[in-house]
C-alpha cells in the first residue's frame, strides 16, 4: 500500500491550491450543514413545545389553534374527562384562546410580524412546566397585564417590561414580564388572562383549545375514541407533541428542499474545483507516479492512493465547513410559520446525525471529484520516471 503519509505530505506541500479547493468544499458543506441545522431547529423548537402526557383538543379539521373554536358550554365537560389527571377538586387541564396580532417588526421599516396572543388560565402554567419568568413578574389573573416570550420580545418593536400594547381602543395591556420556555415555540408568544383577552378580542363564549394532562400516556387512545365517536362535538384530540410536530412540517420540509437543491448546485462547483486541483497535482507529479509504478506499485494502488488524497482533501474542507456551521448556533432565525401564520423564533440546532451526514457528503464530493484525476494518475506509465 502506498502510505497515507505520502498523500498527507503532498497535500501539505502544495498549501495554497489545497486550501483553495478545501475552502470550496467547506463552503458547500457549510450551506448543507446550516440548512439541516435550521430545519432541525424548527423541529426541535416545536418538539420542545409539546409534552407527551398532554392531549390537546381542537375543532375538527382545524390545522392550527388559530382556526379552532370550542363552545364555552363544552369546555367544562371536556375538562372533566376521566382520562385527565386529577388536581385539587378538578383536573390538570386548561382552556386557552389564541389570537394573532400584527405588530411592527423591530429594526425594519414597514415590516410587520404576526405574533400569537394566548389567553390562559392559571392551570396553564402547571401544564407547561417549561415556562420561567426571567424578567419582571407574572401577570395578575383577571387583569389587563401580559407577559411576553423572550423570542418575540426581541422580534417586535417597542416590546419590553413596562411598555404597553394597544390591542383595543382605550384598553391597553401592560407588559409586566418576560418569560423563557426551554426554546420552545411558546417563547414566540404573548400570554395574558383568558377572560381579559377574550373580552379585548370579542371572543367571549368560546375558546380555541382545551388541553388535558393525562393520568398516563396509554389513556390517550381511550380519550381519542371517545371524542371522535361523538359527531355533535365536532372535535378531535391530538397528543401535544404530535400537534406541534405537524406545525413544523411545512416550514421544515420547505427549508430542507430549498437548501438541499442549493447545496447540490454548489457541490457541482466544489467538485469541479477539487477536480481541477487534483488534475494539476497529477500533472505535476507524473515523474513521482512513474517512479512508484517502476518500483512495482500497481495501477490500482496508485488509483486508490489518489482517490484517498481527494477524500482527505474534502474531509479537511468538510471539517472547516462544519466548524463554520456550528458557529451559526449562536444566531437566531425567525420567520412566520406557514401553518400557524405567526412568528416563530428558532435556532440552528446541530445533531450528531447532521455532523456525520455532512462529513459523508464531503467525502462523496471528494470521491466524485477525485475519481477522474485518480484514473489519470493510474494511467501514468512507469516510463514517465525515465523522462527528464
Amino acid at each position: 500500500m502506498i502510505p497515507i503519509a505520502y498523500n498527507v505530505h503532498s497535500l501539505a506541500a502544495r498549501r495554497s491550491t489545497t486550501i483553495a479547493a478545501a475552502l470550496g468544499i467547506a463552503l458547500v458543506v457549510f450551506v448543507f450543514a446550516a440548512v439541516l441545522m435550521l430545519a432541525n431547529g424548527v423541529e426541535q423548537t416545536m418538539r420542545a413545545t409539546g409534552s407527551p402526557l398532554n392531549a390537546i383538543i381542537l375543532r375538527k379539521g382545524s390545522q392550527a389553534e388559530m382556526q379552532s373554536g370550542i363552545e364555552e358550554n363544552a369546555v367544562g365537560v371536556l375538562r372533566a374527562s376521566p382520562e385527565a389527571a386529577p388536581a385539587g377538586s378538578g383536573t390538570m387541564s386548561t382552556a386557552e384562546v389564541v389570537v394573532i396580532i400584527t405588530a411592527s417588526a423591530a429594526g425594519t421599516k414597514g415590516g410587520v410580524s404576526n405574533a400569537v396572543v394566548r389567553g390562559v388560565m392559571p392551570e396553564s402554567f402547571m401544564l407547561r412546566q417549561q415556562l420561567q419568568i426571567i424578567e419582571g413578574r407574572n401577570f395578575t389573573p383577571g387583569s389587563d397585564e401580559v407577559i411576553v416570550g423572550r423570542g418575540i420580545a426581541s422580534r417586535l418593536a417597542d416590546v419590553g417590561v413596562g411598555r404597553e400594547l394597544a390591542l383595543k381602543r382605550n384598553r391597553p395591556v401592560k407588559i409586566v414580564g418576560v418569560f423563557s420556555a426551554d426554546n420552545s415555540s411558546f417563547e414566540s408568544e404573548i400570554w395574558g388572562d383568558l377572560n381579559s383577552i377574550r373580552a379585548i378580542f370579542n371572543r367571549q363564549g368560546a375558546v380555541s383549545s382545551v388541553t388535558l394532562r393525562l393520568k398516563n400516556a396509554s389513556l390517550f387512545e381511550d380519550l381519542r375514541r371517545r371524542i371522535a365517536s361523538d359527531p355533535r362535538l365536532g372535535l378531535e384530540v391530538k397528543r401535544e407533541p404530535t400537534y406541534y410536530d405537524e406545525q413544523s412540517q411545512g416550514l421544515s420540509v420547505f427549508i430542507k428542499t430549498l437548501g438541499l437543491v442549493i447545496a447540490i448546485f454548489f457541490s457541482v462547483g466544489a467538485m469541479i474545483g477539487a477536480m481541477i486541483t487534483m488534475y494539476a497535482q497529477v500533472a505535476q507529479r507524473s515523474r513521482e507516479i512513474g517512479t512508484l509504478r517502476a518500483l512495482g506499485f500497481r495501477r490500482s494502488r496508485v488509483l486508490l492512493s489518489f482517490l484517498l488524497e481527494a477524500i482527505l482533501l474534502s474531509l479537511i474542507g468538510g471539517a472547516l465547513g462544519i466548524v463554520g456551521a456550528l458557529g451559526m448556533s449562536f444566531v437566531h432565525f425567525s420567520t412566520v410559520n406557514f401553518q400557524s401564520f405567526s412568528e416563530l423564533v428558532f435556532r440552528f440546532t446541530p445533531s450528531p446525525g447532521i455532523l456525520i451526514g455532512s462529513l459523508l457528503f464531503a467525502s462523496i464530493m471528494g470521491l466524485l471529484g477525485g475519481l477522474f484525476p485518480a484514473v489519470r494518475a493510474s494511467r501514468v506509465s512507469p516510463v514517465a520516471a525515465m523522462r527528464d
Binding site: M1, E288, G296, F297, S381, A385, M386
Partner: protein, 243 residues
C-alpha cells in the same frame, strides 16, 4: 569454515552462476508509432548477460540504450522478440504481473534520483518494502541496513531537499537494494553529479557488485563510469555493435 573458506565457496558459486545468463534477449525490436508512421528504436537485439555482471551500455543520443534498459527492467513491452530474465519470460506477462515482478526483481537508480519529495530518506527507502509482507519492524531494520551500506544512516529523517545531489543518489541506491533485488538497473546514475560525488556513487556500485554479487546494468555517457564496469557494450541506431 574459515572466512577464507566462505569466500572460496562464494567464488565457486559465482563461477557456477556466471555460466548461466541472467538476462537473455532474442530478436528484440521496439518501435514507436506516430499515427501510421513507424519510428523504430531497437532493431533486433540478441544479448546474454551473465549473473553477477557489471555492464555498461553506451551509445550516442537516440541510439535506444534507455529503451533497451526499460525493456529489460519490465517497464515497457517490446514490439517483437523475447526477453527472459532469471528464467521468466517477460513478454507474456500482464501489467499487474510485471509490476509485482519488478518489485521483487529489479532495483532502479535514475539520473534525476526520483526520490518522492514529500517523504524522508527513510520513507523513500522503505517504499519497495511496502510491496512485501514484511512487518513494520522488519522493514525498519532493512531500511537501516540499506542506508548504512550507502553511508547515510544519520540522514534517515531528512527530506530530499535537505540533501545534496550525491546524497540523494545514495538514498536512491539504498532504495534500489533494500528489497534485495536480482538486478540493479541504473540510467545515467552520475549524469547530474559533480566529479567527486560521481566517483562516490561509482564506488558504491562497484561495492554492490563485488561484495554483494548484484548484477548491475548501467546506461551511461560518462567514460569514467564506463571504465568502472567490467563489460562495455555499444548501441548505435538500435543495434548492438560487437565489442
Amino acid at each position: 569454515m574459515t572466512l577464507n573458506g566462505v569466500s572460496t565457496s562464494a567464488a565457486v558459486a559465482k563461477q557456477d552462476a556466471a555460466a548461466k545468463p541472467i538476462v537473455t534477449l532474442r530478436g528484440l525490436k521496439k518501435s514507436y508509432y506516430r499515427g501510421l508512421i513507424e519510428l523504430p528504436v531497437l532493431d533486433g537485439i540478441d544479448l546474454d548477460i551473465p549473473s553477477g555482471a557489471f555492464e555498461a551500455l553506451m551509445g550516442p543520443s537516440g541510439s535506444g540504450k534507455t529503451t533497451l534498459l526499460n525493456l529489460i527492467a519490465g517497464l515497457d513491452r517490446p514490439t517483437a522478440g523475447t526477453i527472459q530474465v532469471n528464467g521468466v519470460n517477460l513478454s507474456s506477462m500482464s501489467e499487474g504481473a510485471l509490476a509485482d515482478w519488478r518489485a521483487r526483481t529489479i532495483g532502479f537508480v535514475f539520473q534525476s534520483y526520483n526520490l518522492i519529495p514529500v517523504l524522508t530518506a527513510a520513507g523513500n527507502v522503505e517504499l519497495p518494502l511496502l510491496l512485501t509482507k514484511l512487518s513494520a519492524s522488519n522493514r525498519k531494520d532493512r531500511v537501516k541496513t540499506a542506508l548504512r551500506i550507502v553511508g547515510l544512516e544519520e540522514r534517515m529523517g531528512h527530506l530530499p531537499r535537505e540533501l545534496s545531489g550525491g546524497q540523494e543518489q545514495r538514498v536512491a541506491i539504498a532504495r534500489a537494494i533494500v528489497s534485495d533485488p536480482t538486478i540493479v538497473v541504473a540510467d545515467e546514475p552520475t549524469g547530474d553529479l559533480d566529479r567527486k560525488s560521481a566517483d562516490e556513487i561509482l564506488d558504491l556500485l562497484v561495492k554492490l557488485n563485488r561484495e554483494f554479487g548484484k548484477t548491475i546494468l548501467m546506461v551511461t555517457h560518462d567514460p569514467a563510469a564506463a571504465d568502472r564496469a567490467s563489460v562495455r557494450r555499444h548501441l548505435d541506431k538500435g543495434r548492438l555493435l560487437n565489442s
